[in-house]
């Protein structure tokens, strides 16, 4: 039973989707229990796998039992790099599923089962992407997540949302095709699709490793993943797609899709090409870090220019992607940058989740889509606003939260790798975040202009029903609890940053190999 956990983890949401297709069309009430059960099973399996990894190290699972020779079947691998990512996916998808109950009901009641089918298939895809060790299988699973997210984004969105969705389809398909092309070049040169097998061949065979085709393969895989993760010049699809789609979709996609793509990039770098080859042989590190710096600065500045809350958060995602890509490419000898990037994947997913939850609640309950609509929201919705403050502080990077520690590791990596421009960009972006969020705090706390225009009537109203607005506007427990859990997790991840980073660092090859090979 225990050795089947990886398969169970991937398959449980898929079976849930099939069950909804079979039984959920007539009676929509069965949908949520099925969704919840399957996600909890997956989460349990993910925690079980992570636990096994801490005890015994890497878990290998061979689909259909084809082990020898390596590469004929499909291998799944859970190691220190992805053990925490699968737990993150489990936690985030389960929390968002609570949030989606009411949201879908309001959206389009007849399509509830189909929403949940897409939702669960997306979860299957995310789990699968994270644990697969087969380059082509990764493509198939990426396509599952892409197709489901096209559907989720286009379903029930506005005019702008539809236009954003078609752009997303075009960009996403080109990205996936570039990835596929890169895998094809690799396959042509190495004759295998298993990531670890490819790495062994590349390391053993100098001629193959240094051929043009392998370099082009790396470039195209990287481009494909960058399109998928909305790395700055290729980010065009993201802001509109995520800000004009239904909130529960945004809550699911915004924290997970880009972060999983960053994870895929790190996985490709470590498990296919090898850090040594990338950092020392290719020496693109400086170029990519400069691109990342541009992404961070551009994302932050664009976020500053936005009036809509969700759009602002979307541009912050673009900036955060810059953090992670830059961090992963810092090539400092102790690999603090890479550890920081991987830690930031976890912490940023939680922060984004928290902020998008709040943005979704605000847009639904008080119809606040722009920053100016938030006047006095702190009084009306204290719990939500408290969580928003926490998420915002994490985004800025204030100590007890995880955002501080991820920036700390990234900056440490930047200093050790000698990438001062990256450090400067990181600090600049934190400053911009602070300006952004304090602007919101100000409006939300004190109001943009004192409520004279509305007259004393409203104030009167507020005075008399002191507690009532809270009960009226504060949403039900189904939405508040996931939000509070997310906020708590942000703090917990921050407090336990040491063990988490140590855990992640076990996945990296011993530093001495890279240090000794440095010129």
């Amino acid at each position: 039973m225990i050795d089947q956990l990886p398969a169970i983890m991937v398959l449980a949401p898929m079976f849930g989707a099939l069950m909804i297709g079979l039984f959920g069309q007539k009676d929509h009430r069965v949908c949520f229990p099925i969704v919840f059960t399957s996600l909890i099973i997956s989460l349990g399996a993910a925690i079980g796998c992570a636990n096994l990894v801490t005890k015994d190290g890497t878990i290998d699972y061979f689909m259909a039992g084809w082990e020898e020779p390596l590469g004929i079947g499909i291998q799944l691998r859970i190691d220190h790099l992805n053990a925490l990512v699968i737990v993150l996916i489990g936690v985030a998808t389960t929390l968002v599923s609570f949030f989606s109950i009411r949201r879908v009901g309001a959206l389009d009641t007849e399509k509830t089962p189909h929403f949940y089918i897409l939702y669960l298939l997306l979860c299957t895809g995310l789990y699968g992407i994270t644990i697969t060790a087969d380059a082509f299988n990764l493509f198939v699973l990426v396509e599952i997540t892409s197709l489901t997210s096209y559907g989720l984004i286009a379903m029930g969105s506005s005019r702008r949302g539809t236009h954003a969705a078609i752009n997303y389809v075009l960009m996403g398909t080109i990205g996936a095709s570039f990835y596929l092309l890169g895998v094809g070049y690799l396959y042509l040169k190495t004759g295998t699709l298993n990531m670890h097998d490819i790495q062994a061949i590349l390391q053993a065979n100098e001629e193959v490793r240094n051929s043009n085709a392998v370099i082009i393969a790396f470039l195209f895989i990287l481009m494909g993943i960058w399109i998928k993760m909305a790395f700055f010049p290729l980010h065009g699809w993201l802001p509109n797609a995520y800000s004009y789609c239904p909130s529960s979709t945004a809550c699911l996609l915004a924290p997970l899709m880009t972060k999983i793509s960053v994870y895929v990039m790190i996985r490709v770098m470590i498990s296919i090409f090898g850090l040594e080859w990338i950092f020392i042989h290719l020496g693109w590190s400086h170029l990519v870090v400069i691109l990342a710096v541009i992404a961070i600065v551009a994302g932050s500045v664009l976020a500053l220019a936005q009036r809509e809350i969700k759009k602002m958060l979307c541009y912050l995602i673009v900036a955060e992607v810059g953090y992670m890509v830059g961090g992963a490419w810092l090539s400092d000898s102790n690999m603090w940058g890479l550890s920081g990037a991987m830690y930031h994947v976890l912490s940023d997913a939680l922060m984004t989740l928290c902020l998008f939850f709040v943005a979704g609640i605000w847009s639904k309950c008080i119809d606040a889509k722009e920053i100016d609509d938030l006047e006095g929201v702190f009084k009306k919705m204290p719990i939500t606003s408290a969580c928003f403050i926490l998420g915002a502080l994490a985004m800025i990077g204030v100590p007890p939260t995880s955002g501080f520690f991820s920036k700390f590791y990234l900056i440490r990596g930047g200093i050790e790798g000698g990438h001062w421009e990256y450090v400067a960009a990181l600090l600049f972006s934190s400053l911009v975040n602070a300006v952004l969020f304090f602007r919101i705090f100000e409006i939300a706390f004190f109001g943009k202009n004192p409520p004279e225009g509305h007259g004393h009537d409203e104030e009167h109203h507020d005075d008399h029903e002191d507690l009532h607005p809270v009960l009226e506007h504060e949403v039900s427990w189904r939405v508040t609890i996931p939000l509070i859990v997310t906020a708590v997790l942000i703090v917990l991840l921050g407090l336990f940053n040491g063990p988490v980073v140590e855990f992640i660092r076990e996945a990296f090859p011993p530093t001495s190999e890279i240090v000794s090979a440095r010129p």
Partner: protein, 175 residues
Amino acid sequence: MSEFFEQTIQPHFNFWIYVILMMLGLWAVIAKKNMIKKLIGLSIFQTAIILFYVSIGVKEDATIPILDHHGPEHHEVVHENGEHIEDAETSAHPEEVHEKKGDHSHGDDHGHDDHATDPDTMANPLPHVLMLTAIVVGVATLGVALAICQMLFKEFGTLEEDEILAELKDSASDD
């Protein structure tokens, strides 16, 4: 002339064409204004990748990757100036396999149960398998994209990107 042809053009011709097709598709996706045209471009882009993969698996003088399990009487391979004209249902004869790759220990007895086949006589099946999947993915993506196009048409009354963008700008200034 023929030597030039064989040495320069022939080895990579397929790969050149795949690049050309792919670039045609990419150009259409970026530069064409009509959504349907963009999607046709996208499909061409994807088929170009499939063409690339299938080209990887091609072996000269090899047949389709289906074993002949009816016994040896079907084997006929005609030799003509080093070129083979194969019957699509046959796999190459074991004798001639030995000529080409002498170091293979198996393949002599082509009986009913022992199907030790020389790998060089058959096209590589793995790219075919991968591309079956890619074709399916392609048609699913095309379907979803066309559905979104129909939604776009419902909302904007046009599928030309510049008109859609102009209308979006108009509605934004109205707000």
